[in-house]
Structures are given as structure tokens and as C-alpha cells.
């Protein structure tokens, strides 16, 4: 009996470990969600003092916190659109064409991801200082697009590499011109990758603290507001908004993964069962943020 239990334990030790490690990764998230229902008497939301829904009902009750959050949303939306567009075009050029300067272009895209944020922020600030450019929303926008582009390229590129170009040839054979082929075949198949990249870019932007702190001037984003509030004590509303943000991002993420699988099925000229078999055998989705892809 004990021998068998021991054997089972040895065989599954790695799985048990994996579960514990995942729980460790999720622990702070769980804590944030729980503390969004806390009812602290003082300014500090550090110890559990009782359950209340008040802060959820009144999540946007602190005007400057709400303003900061709205600024963050606007900034993330705007920089996501631009970074996704520029990054997708970059990925297309990089994967589909042979050209002079390819290695340099590759290097230029990878190197910002391998540079500490503090250096990126400091360098941009140095330039803005020397030119006497006023810091604010515009400089934040410039910075956010800059650090998002590389990540967009990595995600879209990994999707382009797995692209079955016979589908485009088929469209051309059937009489579609180059533009129609792009609009009706290439773009729809690429869409999950582009949406995934946009999502990543949005998450990076709304979460960014270090680069933003250097280039914000008087503009206050959500993370910058939290930093400012940390000394005085962070209100429960911050935990509520963070939890909302978590739920929204997680839902969007699950949706994209699901869409990706659907699009992968569409992209194969194979009977349904065979596609399923191949999907099962295939490596999982490419990891975001992996250098070089």
C-alpha cells in the first residue's frame, strides 16, 4: 500500500510541483481580488478587516484615479493601433521579402526587447530634454508605440511563418487580383495573430510604469497614480480596478486563443478530422515575448 503510494508520488512529483508553482504565480492575483472586497478602517489596505461590496459599487468614485485610468485607456488604445499597424507591416516585410539590410532590421527590432526599461526611458527623456520638448501625453504616446512595436513583430511574424502560401496562390488562380487576395485571404488568416499582437501591445501599454515615469511630465497614468498613492496608502478602489482589468484581459486572451484555433482549422485544406489530429500534435501557441520567435 505504502509502496504503491510512494510509486505514484514519484511518478507524479513533477505534476504536483507544477501545480504548486502555478499556485505560487497566481497567489498575488488571488490576494488582489480578495482585498478588493476588504473594508479597511485606516488608509492602508494591508490587513483583512471585513467583507464589503462598497468599493466595487463605487469603483470610479475617486475622480483623479478615474482620470488617470481613462488616460491610460486612451493612451493604450491609441498606441496599440499605431504599433500594431507598424509592427504588422514590419513583420510582413521581414518574413516575405529578401532584401538588403535584413539582418540590421532584425537586430533593430530585437534590441529594444533586450534593453532594460530604465535605459529606454532615460534615453528618450534625454532627447526630449535636449530639444526642450514638453513632456506629456504625446511623449508617452511616442514611447509606448516604440516599446510595443517589437512585441507586435514577434507575434505576427510567428503567425506569418506558419502561413500556407498555397492559399494565396489558389486565390490568384481563381482570378483574384493582388489586393483582393490580400483582403479576402491573407488578412483574415492573419487576423488572429494581429489581434493577439494588439492585445499584447494594449496590455504592455496599460501596465507600463518605468518608461512612462520618465516621459510623463504632469500627465498621470494608472500605474503612475498608484506609485504616487503608495506613500499615502493605496485605496481599495485600485484593487477593484486592477481586478476588473485582470478579468477583461484574461477574457480577451482566452477568446483570442480560441479564435486562433478556429483560424488554424480554416487555414488547412484538409478534412476536419485530420486538422484536429494535426492541431493536437502541434506545439502550443508561440510564447509571447520570446526573443527571435
Amino acid at each position: 500500500m505504502i509502496g504503491r503510494a510512494w510509486k505514484w508520488l514519484r511518478r507524479n512529483a513533477i505534476v504536483i510541483y507544477g501545480v504548486i508553482a502555478v499556485l505560487y504565480l497566481l497567489l498575488p492575483l488571488f490576494l488582489i481580488a480578495v482585498f478588493s472586497f476588504n473594508d479597511p478602517s485606516g488608509k492602508f489596505n494591508y490587513t483583512w478587516e471585513g467583507f464589503t461590496l462598497d468599493h466595487w459599487k463605487n469603483a470610479f468614485g475617486i475622480p483623479d484615479l478615474t482620470d488617470a485610468f481613462i488616460t491610460s485607456l486612451q493612451l493604450a488604445a491609441l498606441s496599440t493601433v499605431v504599433a500594431t499597424l507598424l509592427g504588422t507591416l514590419l513583420a510582413m516585410g521581414l518574413v516575405r521579402y529578401e532584401f538588403f539590410g535584413r539582418k540590421t532590421a532584425n537586430f533593430l527590432i530585437v534590441i529594444p526587447m533586450a534593453t532594460p526599461e530604465v535605459v529606454i526611458g532615460a534615453a528618450l527623456l534625454s532627447m526630449f530634454l535636449i530639444y526642450g520638448i514638453k513632456l506629456g501625453f504625446t511623449t508617452l504616446f511616442i514611447a509606448h508605440v516604440m516599446f510595443s512595436i517589437s512585441f507586435v513583430v514577434v507575434v505576427v511574424r510567428s503567425r506569418l511563418i506558419g502561413f500556407d502560401r498555397r492559399l494565396e496562390e489558389a486565390a490568384r488562380d481563381l482570378g483574384a487580383n493582388a489586393f483582393e487576395t490580400f483582403r479576402l485571404v491573407t488578412l483574415p488568416l492573419l487576423m488572429p495573430g494581429i489581434v493577439g499582437a494588439a492585445l499584447l501591445s494594449f496590455a504592455l501599454s496599460i501596465d507600463d510604469f518605468v518608461i512612462s515615469q520618465f516621459n510623463a511630465g504632469d500627465t498621470v497614468t494608472f500605474p503612475l497614480w498608484i506609485y504616487g498613492a503608495a506613500q499615502r496608502g493605496i485605496p481599495v478602489e485600485v484593487y477593484v480596478i486592477a481586478t476588473m482589468l485582470f478579468i477583461a484581459t484574461a477574457a480577451a486572451m482566452v477568446f483570442t486563443v480560441w479564435q486562433q484555433r478556429r483560424a488554424e482549422k480554416m487555414a488547412w485544406i484538409l478534412p476536419e478530422e485530420e486538422v484536429d489530429a494535426r492541431l493536437e500534435a502541434r506545439p502550443g501557441p508561440p510564447a509571447p515575448g520570446v526573443l527571435g520567435g
Partner: protein
Amino acid sequence: MSTVRRRLVPYFLMGPGLVWLILFFVVPLYFMGRLALESGTLATGFEFTWEFANFTDSFDRFDEQFVRSFVYAGVATVIALLIAYPLAYAIAFRGGRWKNALLLAVVAPFFTTYLIRTIAWTTILSDDSVIVDVLKAVGLLGDEGRLLATPTAVIAGLVYNFLPFMVLPIYSSLERIDVRLIEAAKDLYASARVAFWKVTLPLSMPGVVAGTLLTFIPAAGDYVNAFFLGSINQSMIGNRIQSLYLMELDYPTAAALSFILMAAILAVVVVYIRFAGAEALMGDEGEQRA
């Protein structure tokens, strides 16, 4: 005509993005270098004077923070590797139909704000927390001992915050391994252990190299963890750069420090890649064209 046009297509596609990166990443680095060579004070104004002494002076002033940053980042990277490898292995080989859910859980921390995650750790490690009580009960921590404002807390924060960057690349290189190679090793009478050391681990090295770099680089420049989880005695070079730029407004010193940080990280990375002998950082060109 049309071949010329075709040849120009990639440049049109990539132009806007590359220009953005050059204008707002490469050019700013040049200006940071210029700023680092200026002299003067905030009151009198700064002037460009090829002040190379800024580099040596600022390093001498903050060598302690430099050493601390690299030690903390190094220790955090090793711990993260030890935690991440078995986790990535479990997901890749034993994940089964839970694979995608587990991967989602690994990146889940990125769905909440970095600052709040770190602040959550101040609650978890605070003086009257369960963890501190347990450590005191087992005797690992003295009666007056605490976790917050210690190197342990800062390193723990670094490990936690950058762990997904370690797990994901290792996972994707483990996932790519042809399982038949491992089976072949076992058919040739390798024990599970030998098969792991001789086949699985070497094949997953690109992921390990990428993961350690992706953890070490941001950790060495980080100042958020030291700010929230440490005290002034744990302040890292990032903290100094931040306060020199934004509070003390001593731009030349701040720029010089940033430059030294970048150069030092680059040096560590180059030596490390030489040593590890992998091209993991740039990705494989051949594979890309496939």
C-alpha cells in the same frame, strides 16, 4: 519597372516602423551619450564639454549599487531558472489537455498591473504575515526578524515578477523536442535520468539561454522591486538613475550611469552567449524562412 517596384516593396512596408525605432530608440541613445558628456550644475545650466570624467566619477560614487544590481539580478535569475525549468517541463510533457490553461496561468500575472503585483507581495511578506510567522516558528527567522526591507524580499520580488519570461522560452524549446529522440535514448538503454541529461536538457538549452537573458536584463535595471520591497540599503542602480533624472535633476550623472548600465549588461550578455554557445537571442534565420 515592375522588378524595381517589387524590390522596393519591403522598404515601403518596413519604412514607417523602422523609422519610428530609429528616431525614438537609436537616436535617443545618442542624445543620452551626449548628455553624459556635459558638465555644469542645474543652477548654472549644463554645457557639452566632452566631460569623460562623468563616467568614472558616477561609477565611483555608485559602484555599490552597481554591484548590488548585478548580484541581485544574478541570484534572481538562478532561482527563477530552478523554479521555471521543472514547471516548463511539467507543462510541456505532462500538461495533456490542460496545457493551454496552464500556459495561460503562467502569463496571468501580466494581466494585472506590475506595481500592484509588487505591492501585493508587500502584503504577503509584511511583518505580521503568515509567512513571517511560520519562518519564525521554524527558527529560520529571529524573533525580531523581518522579510520586508531585506535583500531576500527584493530578490523574491524580482524572481516572481520575471518568472514568466523564464518559463515561456524554456517551455517552447521543450515543446519543440522530437519525443522520438528521447524514446530512442531509452531504447538504447539510457535510464530516464541519463536520457534527460544527455538528450532533453541539451536540446532545451536555447530556451534556457533566452529565458535567463530575458530575466537577467530587466532584473538588473529594475527599481520597482527595490523601491517597494526593499529599503535604502537595498537600492539598486535603477533607483539611483531614476532619482538622479527625476528628483535631483543631475542629468549628466544620470545619463552616464544609464550608459554604464547598458554597457555592463551588454558585456555580460556577450560573454554569456559566448559561453553558452547558442544563437538563441537572434533566432534562427533558417527556421524563419521555413
